[in-house]
Symmetry: C2
Subunit: 739 residues, 2 copies
C-alpha cells in the first residue's frame, strides 16, 4: 500500500516537474520569440533628477523604512525623496535629491574649491555661501555644482547625520553623536548608497579616454567626473608609465647587447645604479607633478588638521574645539599612541612573522617535494600541492589580516578621513609586501640561486600582470554583461507573462509612476518601473529598465587601493630586483600602456560610479614607494654581491673585499638618494608663488579684520570695558626656562 | 771728520732719547701719582639716549662725513644724530636715535611680534602701525620697544637705505638699488656700527645668569637683551647638556664596571646602540623644544619666503613682486641652481679633497718621523715638526676656505638672510668637519689601531675643550681688561698734561659739550668728551670715558657660528666615536656645565652687544647634527667590526659572518632611527593647536575681507564694469593633461 502510494506520489511529482519544465521551456521559447519579434534590446533609462540612490534589502519592513524617512526629514528637511520599487531586483530604491541651499551648505562645510569670477580676482577659492556672488556660474543652480560634486556633497550630508540622543530601533542601537548612515550600511539595513552615472558625460569621457589609447589622459574631465582621488591615481599611472620608458629602453639594451662578458657585467652594475637613481628622480618629480595637480584642483592648500571636520566615525568625548569654538568629539593623542605602539605594532609584527613563517614552511615543503619527485619517489603532479596550499593560505591570510588591520585602524580612531586611509594603507601594505615578494626573496637570499631567481621573477612578473589584467577587466566585464542579459531576460519574461495576462484579462496596471511616491511593499514587484518609450505601442517597442536599478546591482568601485597596490608591487619588481631582471621595466611599460585604458574601461563600464573624494596627494603610497626605493638600494647591492658579477669585474678581491665594495656602494648610493631628495623641491616654484599670493591676501585680511574688531571693541570699551574676550583667546605667555 | 760728526750726532740723539725717556718716565710717575692722589678709577659713563653708534676711522675727511650725513637726512629725516669725538681712540662717533614713528615703521617692515592687549585677544601678533592701539604698552613710547628691539630696528632701517641711482663718491661706487651701509662697512669707510649695552639690564642679567650656575637660564631675559638667535643657542646648549646626563652616566658605568670581559664587550655594544638611539631622541626632542620657544617668542609662524623682505645684499633685476605687488629685485632660481651644482659643489669637493690629502700626507709624514725617531735616526723634538705643520696648514686652510665659502655663498645670492646664513653654515661645516675628525678617522680606519684611537680621542677631546674655554673666555677677558687699563692710563696722562698746561696758562677750553654738534676735525682730540662729574672740583674726582667709546673698541660678537661649531664638533665626538671612547659624553657634560656660564660671561663682559636677530630655529645646525647622527650609525658599526669586540662575543663567526652582523645591525639601527624621526612629531600638539587657532582667525578674516571687497566691487560694477583686476590676479586654469 505504502509503496503504491509513494509510487503514485512520485509519478505525480514527476508529471508536475515535466509540466513545469514544459511551461518553463515554453516561457523561454515565448520570451525568446518575443525578444526576437519585438527586436528587444534592453535599454536602461537614465535617471537624471537624482543625486544619490539608497536601496534597501528585499524584505525590509515598513516600520524600518519610515523610521529612516523620519531621520532624513528631521535632518535634511529640504531633501526630495522619490521612492521606487525595483521590479527585477526586488528591492526598494529611494532617489534622493538635495536642494541647492543644502548643496551650498554642504560645499562650504566640505571646503570644496570653486572658481572665482575674474572680476573678484579669479583663481580657486573655498566655497562660502555668504560670498556666493563671487563664484563663477552661481547664477545657474542646475549647473553650478557638477554632478560629481552634488553627489559627494549629499553623501557628506548623509554621512554626517548623527543620533541626537542614544536610541534603539528594534535590534539596532545608536549612541549619542554616532553617525547613523555608516552604521545602517554596515548593519546591511541599507544595502547600497550610490551615486548614478551621468550617461552623457560618461560617453564623452569614454571617447576621449578609454577609446583614445594614444592621446593624453583628460585628467580634468576625470577629476570632474570621478573626483580628484581617482584622477590623481590615473595621473600617477600616466607619470609612472612615461618615466618607465628610460629603464625599459636601457633594460632592453643591457639584456640584448652582450658583446663580451665583462662589458655585460659592467653594464649590469651600471644599470642597477641607474635604476636606483631613476626611482628617486621619478618619485621626486611625481611629488612636484602631484603638487601642481593638487594646486590646479584646489586641494593643495590643505587646512590644518584641527580646522577640518572630523570624519563621521571619529569618536571621543564632546568638547569645545579650542580652534573654532564649536562642540566636537575629542580623542586624546596619547591614547592613540599607546594603542599604536603597544597593540598595533606588536600585532602587525606578529602577523608579518606568521605570514613569513608559513610561506617559508611551504617553500621548504615545495623544495622537499621537488627533490622527492626528481628522485622518482613521488609522481610529478604532487608538485602542485604545495603551490595550491600556498595560494589558499595567501588568500586566507590576506582576508584575515585585512580584518585585523581595519579593526586596529578603527581603534586608533583618526580624526581625518585622509589620515585614517593613509594609516590603513600603511598597515595593509606590510603583509601584502611579504605575500608578494616572499618567494622571490626566498630564492634570492635563502637559496642564493641567481639563475632560478631570474626565472622566478620573469614568470611571476609576467603571469601576475596578464592574470591581473584579465581578472580585473575581462572577467568583470563578462560578468556585468551576463548580469545585464539576465535582467533583460527577466524583463522579457515579465513582458510575456503580462502579455498573456492581457490576453485574458482587461487593462493591466503596469505603468510605473515615475514621479509618484509609491509606498507599496517591496514584494509588489509588478508595480515596478520598467518604462515604455514614448511611442508606447510602436512596432519596435524597446523594453527598458531604470538606470538606478541596473547600477545598484553593479559592483562597487571599492577604492583606488587595489589599483595602487598593483602599481606598488610592480614598482617593487622594477626597483628591488632590477639587477636580476632588467627587463622588468620593459614589461611594466607594456603592461601599463594597457593598464591605463583597461582601468579606465573598468571604471567606465563595469562599476558603480564612486563618490568623488578630495585628496591632496597619493598619501601613504608615496612613502611606501620611497621605502621601496630605499630598500632597492640594499637589495640590489646585496644581489650584485651574491650574483658574482662583482667578482667577475674585480677578480683580485677576496670575499671580504667584495663585501666592502658592496657596503661602500650602498652607502654612496644612499647618500646620493638623500642628496637628490633634498635638492629637488617638492613644490614647483610657480606653485609656491601662487600659494604665497594667497597667504599675502590672507595676512592682509587678518590685519584688516583685527583693525575692525579693534575699532568695534574700542567703541564698546568707550562705554563699558569688555572682559569676556580675555579668557578664551589668550595665548600662554608664561616664561619657558631651562637649565 | 765724518766720524766725529757722526759721533756727535749719535751723542745728541742719545741725549735726546734720554731726555725723552726721562720726560716719559716723569709723565708715568706723575700720572701714577696723579692716579693715586685723585683715587682715579676709570669709570665709563653710560650713553643712554642712543640706539646705534657709528664710528669713523681717525682720518676721515669732512667731505665724506657730510656726504654720509646727507644720505641719512635724505632717507631717515627724523633721525637724531649726535656727533662726538672720541678723544682716546681718535675716532669720530655718531650717536643715532630714531624717532618712535620710525621705530614703528621699521618694526612693521621687520614683522616683529608684540604682545596684544588682553581685550583684543591677547597673544603675540606682528606689529602694525595701523593697529598700534591693540598692543600692550603702546602708550609709553619710551618703553614700548625694548632696547634690543630699538637697536635692531634702527639697524634694519640703516641696512635698507639703498642708492636711488648709480652714483660715485670719490673712489666709492654705488649701483642703483645697492644698499649703502653694508658697502660702507665693508669698504671700512665706517669702522663700526654697533648697539650699546644697557648697563642696568646687563647687571641684572649677569646676576641671574652668569653668577647663578645652578639655576635655570633666564631664556626670556636673554632673548630680550641679546635677541632670539643668541637665546636659542643657549636654550640648545641647555637642552643638550641636560640630555648628556644619560650617556654620561651610562658611559661611566660601562667604562668602570668590568666584572668580566664578555660582559664588558656586551655592554660596549649595548652602549653604542643606546648612544645612537639617544642621539635621535635628543635631536627630535630638541625640535619640539625649539618649536615651543619659537612659538613663545613669536617666530614660529614663519611667513612664506616670498612674503619676507629680501636681505639687503640680495641683488637682481627689479621686478614687480607677483605676491605683494611692490617692486623688488628678482634673481631666477635656475641661475642659482646652475651655480650651485656646477661651481659650488665641485669647488667644495675639491677643497675637501685637498684638505683631506694634505692632512693625510702630514699624518703619513708623522708616522714616518715617529718611526725614524724610535729607531734612533732622528732626535725626539723632530716629532713636533709635522704637528706644527699640521697646525699651520689647518689655520691657513680654514682661513682660505672661509673666504671661498663666503664668496660662493654671495654668488648664490639667497633672498633671505636666514637661507643665506644656513647655506653658509652648511658650506663651512664640511671642511671644519674634515679638519676636526681627520686625525681620528685616520687612526680608526687607516691604521685600525683601536688602542691608539682611544688615546687620540681622549687627548684631542679633553685638550680641545680646555684650550677652547681658555681661548674663548680667559684670554679675551684679560685682553679687554688690559685695553681698559690702557685707556685709563691715557686718560690720566691727558689729565696730567692738562694740569701742567693749566699751571702755565690761563683757563683752558677742555670741557666737552655733550649736546652740542661739534663739527671739528677728527684730529682735534683735545675737544674730546671726557666728562667731569657734577662735583667738578671735588677731591675724589672721577675721570671718565664714555661707554660708547669703550664699546666701540671692544671685540664684536661675530655670530653664534663659532659657539655652535664647538658644540657640533663635541656632538660629533659623543656620537661618532662613542664605541671607542664612552667617556666622551661625561667629559662633554662637565665641559658644558662650565661652557654655558663661560659663554654667558663672554657675551656679558668681553664683547660688543650684538644686534638682536629673529630666527625660527637653529637652522642648518639641526640638519648637520642629524647627518652626524646618521654617520654615527655607520661609523660605530664599523668600529664595532674593527675593534674585535664582536669577534669576542661571536667567536663562532668568520670575518664574513661578522661583516654580515655589522651590516645587519647598521640597517636595523638606521630603520629604527627613521622610525623614531617619523613617530615623534616635530611640533608639540599644543603648539599645533595654537597655530590652528591663528589660522582659523586668518581664514575667517580672509572670508570677511573678500566679502567686503566683493561688496565694494559690486557697487562699482553697478556703475561701470571693472576690467583691470582680471589680468593680474588670474590663476592659470589651463588643463594639465598627460599620457
Amino acid at each position: 500500500m505504502e509503496v503504491k502510494l509513494l509510487k503514485q506520489r512520485a509519478k505525480s511529482q514527476a508529471k508536475e516537474a515535466v509540466l513545469q519544465a514544459k511551461e518553463y521551456g515554453q516561457t523561454i521559447k515565448d520570451t525568446a520569440k518575443y525578444m526576437h519579434e519585438k527586436k528587444l534590446c534592453l535599454e536602461t533609462v537614465p535617471t537624471t533628477d537624482c543625486h544619490v540612490v539608497l536601496t534597501f534589502p528585499t524584505k525590509t519592513d515598513i516600520a524600518t523604512l519610515s523610521w529612516i524617512e523620519g531621520i532624513l526629514k528631521e535632518n535634511l528637511p529640504d531633501l526630495t525623496v522619490h521612492k521606487r520599487l525595483h521590479p527585477y531586483t526586488n528591492m526598494t530604491g529611494w532617489y534622493l535629491t538635495a536642494s541647492f541651499d543644502s548643496l551650498m551648505r554642504g560645499a562650504e562645510a566640505m571646503g570644496i574649491s570653486k572658481a572665482v569670477k575674474e572680476e573678484y580676482g579669479g583663481g580657486l577659492m573655498e566655497f562660502s555661501t555668504a560670498e556666493k556672488v563671487m563664484f563663477q556660474g552661481i547664477e545657474d543652480e542646475d549647473t553650478f555644482f557638477i554632478s560629481q560634486e552634488r553627489q559627494s556633497i549629499l553623501h557628506y550630508l548623509l554621512q554626517n547625520i548623527r543620533a541626537t540622543q542614544s536610541e534603539a530601533f528594534e535590534k539596532f542601537k545608536l549612541l549619542e553623536g554616532q553617525p547613523i548612515f555608516p552604521k545602517l550600511l554596515s548593519k546591511r539595513i541599507i544595502s547600497a548608497l550610490l551615486p548614478l552615472h551621468d550617461k552623457e558625460a560618461l560617453k564623452k569621457l569614454e571617447k576621449s579616454w578609454v577609446h583614445a589609447p594614444l592621446s593624453r589622459q583628460p585628467l580634468d574631465d576625470i577629476a570632474h567626473y570621478f573626483g580628484i582621488k581617482v584622477s590623481i591615481y590615473f595621473a600617477y599611472l600616466g607619470h609612472y608609465t612615461k618615466w618607465l620608458i628610460f629603464p625599459a629602453v636601457l633594460g632592453l639594451f643591457v639584456t640584448f647587447y652582450s658583446s663580451n662578458a665583462t662589458i655585460q657585467d659592467w653594464s649590469f652594475i651600471f644599470f642597477t645604479i641607474f635604476n636606483i637613481i631613476w626611482a628617486s628622480l621619478f618619485l621626486e618629480t611625481w611629488k612636484r607633478r602631484s603638487a601642481e595637480l593638487a594646486f590646479h584642483w584646489g586641494t593643495l592648500d590643505v587646512k590644518h588638521e584641527l580646522l577640518e571636520d572630523p570624519r563621521p566615525m571619529y569618536y571621543g568625548i564632546p568638547q569645545v574645539s579650542p580652534v573654532s569654538g564649536r562642540m566636537e568629539p575629542f580623542y586624546p593623542a596619547w591614547k592613540r599612541n599607546l594603542f599604536r605602539y603597544f597593540v598595533t605594532v606588536p600585532v602587525i609584527l606578529l602577523c608579518m612573522c606568521t605570514t613569513f613563517l608559513i610561506a617559508f614552511g611551504i617553500f621548504e615543503l615545495q623544495e622537499w617535494v621537488n627533490e622527492q619527485i626528481s628522485e622518482g619517489f613521488y609522481p610529478k603532479p604532487l608538485a602542485y600541492i604545495p603551490k595550491f596550499i600556498l595560494a589558499i593560505t595567501t588568500i586566507i591570510s590576506e582576508t584575515i589580516y585585512k580584518k585585523i588591520a581595519v579593526w586596529l585602524n578603527n581603534k586608533e580612531n583618526y580624526r581625518l578621513q585622509s589620515s585614517y586611509e593613509n594609516h590603513l594603507i600603511a598597515k595593509l601594505i606590510f603583509v601584502q609586501f611579504i605575500n608578494h615578494f616572499m618567494s622571490v626573496t626566498y630564492v634570492a637570499f635563502y637559496l642564493q640561486d641567481f639563475g632560478r631567481l631570474k626565472a622566478t621573477i620573469a614568470t611571476l612578473f609576467i603571469t601576475k600582470h596578464v592574470i591581473g589584467n584579465i581578472t580585473e577587466t575581462v572577467i568583470p566585464y563578462i560578468k556585468e554583461k551576463l548580469k545585464v542579459y539576465r535582467l533583460a531576460f527577466k524583463v522579457a519574461k515579465h513582458e510575456v507573462k503580462e502579455a498573456r495576462k492581457k490576453e485574458g484579462a482587461a487593462e493591466g496596471s503596469t505603468e510605473g509612476s515615475r514621479e509618484g511616491v509609491s509606498e507599496g511593499s517591496p514584494e509588489g514587484v509588478s508595480e515596478g518601473t520598467q518604462e515604455q518609450t514614448d511611442e508606447a505601442d510602436g512596432a519596435s517597442k524597446k523594453y527598458t529598465i531604470s538606470q538606478a536599478e541596473v547600477e545598484s546591482k553593479m559592483e562597487r568601485y571599492e577604492d583606488t587601493f587595489n589599483d595602487f597596490l598593483e602599481m606598488f608591487i610592480q614598482f617593487g619588481y622594477v626597483t628591488l630586483f632590477s639587477s636580476a631582471f632588467p627587463l622588468a621595466a620593459f614589461w611594466a611599460l607594456v603592461n601599463n600602456v594597457i593598464e591605463i585604458r583597461s582601468d579606465a574601461f573598468k571604471l567606465c563600464t563595469n562599476k558603480q560610479r564612486p563618490f568623488g573624494q578630495h585628496v591632496q596627494n597619493i598619501g601613504s603610497w608615496q612613502y611606501a614607494m620611497e621605502v621601496i626605493g630605499m630598500l632597492g638600494v640594499s637589495v640590489n647591492c646585496a644581489l650584485l654581491g651574491i650574483s658574482g658579477q662583482l667578482q667577475d669585474v674585480f677578480p683580485m678581491y677576496t670575499a671580504v673585499g667584495i663585501f666592502l665594495i658592496v657596503a661602500l656602494l650602498e652607502h654612496i648610493i644612499l647618500a646620493l638618494k638623500l642628496g637628490i631628495s633634498i635638492a629637488i623641491p617638492d613644490t614647483p616654484y610657480w606653485v609656491q608663488t601662487e600659494l604665497a599670493k594667497l597667504e599675502y591676501k590672507r595676512r592682509q585680511a587678518l590685519k584688516k579684520m583685527e583693525q575692525e574688531t579693534r575699532d568695534n571693541i574700542h567703541k564698546s570699551i568707550a562705554s563699558s570695558p569688555v572682559e569676556e574676550l580675555s579668557t578664551e583667546a589668550g595665548i600662554s605667555t608664561e616664561a619657558p626656562k631651562e637649565e
